[in-house]
Amino acid sequence: MEDNTTVAVEESAAVDSMAAEAALPQKKKRKPINQQKLQDNLWGWAFCVPLIVGTVLFIYIALVMALLLSFTTYNSLILGPGDSIWTFLGDMFAGKDVYSDSVGNTDPLRWYKYVFQWEEYSTGTTTSPYPMNVTGMLLFNTVFYAIGIPIGMVLAMFFAVCMSRDIKGGNVFRVVYYLPCVASTVSIVYTFTNMFGTDGVINRLLGANIPWFREEVSQPWLTLTDGGDPFWGHGLLQKSLIIIMSVWKGLGGTIILYIAGLSGVNASTKEAAQIDGANGWRIFWKITMPDLYPVIFYNIVTAVIGGMQIYAEPELFFPTASTTGSYPNFLTSGYVSLIWFWGVTSRARIDTNYYDPGIPGNAAYQSLGAAYGMVLAVIILVLTLFQFWLDRKNND
């Protein structure tokens, strides 16, 4: 608590001193208007202070702390009475040992090694242990869900072009298509859960008997048989269900952005092409699409960033067992589930031969969660930079 206030005080002090510094040189140079400049600088800073404090404290400081914590053994049982994360970090900076555990491991990179290791996991039903990489499997799920991005983009483009025709009631369609975006994910998931049941309305309409939900999903690793392919062999229907829902729910927002982009397409170029005898299809590809390119690029970048952080939908459709189980659902959970799984909820001792942090009883490993988070941040950063790199080539 005290540390919090000191941070806040430091913040405001820094801001004040910076404002004063910023105002000072002006004072010397131009005497007649220095009052106005001083006012501008003081008020400019003053209006921003809440946003700056909030962003710095809850995002930047949290980010730096996450990076620092990911090298330590910080967990929910490590703090003594009256201690907090701040005293722990103070110990870290004071040079105290925050890296070693009761079983003698002092490797600061232990969590990063843990994230990328392969495990011999015994499924219980098979005789030999099953080698798997948990991070890889959940990353595979996350990337699999990204299939929904191009599907959603093409559908949204199609509907946006339809809606931007000069028809009556276009606005009504816009509102209707945007409805799923404002609805609560939890409500929608529970509705879809019942609609997609084995004898639910969707299967009846399709005249099929598709097992969208399987019994084994609550304990998916039990279905992994020796030699079976854990990536493509299992859970594809379950993943498809989540893709269907995300595409359905996200369509409206993309459509609105495309409509806005389409209304900005140069109308005179279009008309000129029409007079020159180009048909609608050619006009779309040669004139509309290049003009729309910035909107499409923005959509792809935000969709990829958002898609890598998918968490709630898979966890709501196929909840990870809260008390039993040593991992999130292998076949459906997104990568973010790992952060939540280790970092926030109390888990029994990590079930591996590789690393035993020596913590008795249940603990939430915030440090391990932070390490998973840092890996996610790097993945997203690399993906975003890669897209911007592609974009630069495209612009040249």
Binding site: M18, Q39, D40, W43, G44, W45, F47, C48, L51, I52, G54, T55, F58, I59, I61, A62, L63, M65, A66, I85, W86, F159, C162, R165, F173, V175, Y177, L179, V182, A183, S184, V186, S187, Y190, T191, N194, M195, D199, R204, G253, I256, L257, I259, A260, S263, G264, Q309, L316, P319, I339, W340, G343, V344, S367, G369, A370, G373, M374, L376, A377
Partner: protein, 345 residues
């Protein structure tokens, strides 16, 4: 043989004349508004046919968008409480048929699922003994009104400063803040958890309210975009008349930027109302401070409603309904604000 040859000749001389089949097809195409080499369709006909096709496509899409909502409402009236259990939902296409078995607990008649939800939906299991449905609604209102109103005003303050006040380091600070949206939320989730723990925010209202009070970067960004469109001369005039920046903000900027502020506020309200993840991560299920979506997941995870999904769907309807109504009222403003985002990019 001769016939074949003549067809080949026709194909070779396609530019001049085509086969009779092709000719007829082109006539039909022209009727439906497609111009070909032999027949020119009238522009009016092309537009009419195009409009009809567009309407069919859009209506089909609209049906796909609406149907789950319709189904959710219909299912919330299904008689799942009786011996049939969830089978009442399995047979449901458009509207629930009254069950032959009837309810075990015949409360509320047609509105049985809602009565059950309000009476005992959010009690038992890991819920706090004093928790109730209305407590969840009150929590949700508190979580989505207080931080949104205060947060939008702080964001507008920052936006005003970034758009209309000249101060040294303005652009650098703005870029510094804007870069924060690159930080993925889940990456810093566990540290935020530890941080909130040290502040004493965990498992009470503060975690859902206090961080929102500081405003959001994206909200500030959009209001700033809007403020760029306002003439600076108003502010200059007010300054000459002796108004301070505080006065200008309250007297000019807030009223003038109201459309942007309200639209951003409504969008944040919807985000906060549906904020399942925040409550799920930072508030334990046995606390009285869980919000509505989180309480719904707790209700669903219990055994009481496992074979009686009606009340859960009633809860889903009650969670979606306020947002839908709000959106229906302010749709013009919200969509307009979103369109502005699209055209600015």
């Amino acid at each position: 043989m001769e016939n074949m040859q003549s067809v080949q000749v026709d194909i070779a001389e396609e530019e001049i004349k085509v086969s009779s089949f092709r000719y007829g097809l082109n006539a039909v195409l022209a009727f439906f508004g497609f111009s070909t080499k032999t027949h020119r369709a009238s522009k009016k006909r092309a537009k009419l046919v195009g409009d009809i096709v567009t309407y069919i496509v859009l209506l089909f899409g609209a049906f796909l968008m609406i149907y789950p909502f319709w189904w959710m409402i219909a299912a919330s009236f299904a008689q799942t409480g009786g011996q049939e259990g969830n089978n009442a939902l399995s047979g449901l296409d458009w509207w629930p048929t009254p069950s032959a078995f009837g309810y075990d607990d015949a409360v509320g008649g047609f509105f049985r699922n809602y009565v059950v939800l309000f009476d005992r939906g959010f009690s038992g299991g890991i819920f706090d003994p004093s928790f109730s449905y209305w407590r969840a609604v009150a929590n949700n209102l508190f979580y989505s009104i207080v931080p949104v109103v205060v947060g939008v005003i702080t964001s507008a303050m920052a936006a005003f400063s970034f758009a209309k006040i000249n101060w040294i380091g303005r652009n650098a600070v703005f870029m510094f803040l804007l870069a924060a949206i690159m930080v993925p939320g889940p990456s810093i989730m566990t540290t935020q958890y530890a941080m909130y723990q040290s502040f004493g925010f965990l498992n009470n209202w503060a975690v859902m309210v206090v961080p929102g009070l500081f405003g959001a970067i994206m909200t500030a960004f959009f209001i700033r975009q809007f403020l760029f469109g306002l003439p600076t001369s108003i502010i200059e005039a007010a300054k000459i008349d002796g108004a301070g920046y505080g006065r200008i903000f309250v007297g000019f900027i807030l009223p003038l930027a109201m459309p942007a502020i309200v639209a951003q506020g409504l969008l944040s309200f919807m985000g906060c109302w549906n904020n399942y993840m925040g409550s799920y991560i930072f508030i334990t299920g046995s606390s009285v401070w869980v919000n509505l979506p989180h309480a719904m997941t707790i209700m669903n995870s219990g055994t009481t409603f496992a074979s009686d999904q009606g009340p859960i769907l009633a809860a889903a309807v009650m969670c979606v309904l306020p947002v839908i109504i709000l959106f229906a009222i302010f749709q013009k403003m919200i969509i307009g604000s979103l369109m502005l985002t699209g055209s600015k990019e």
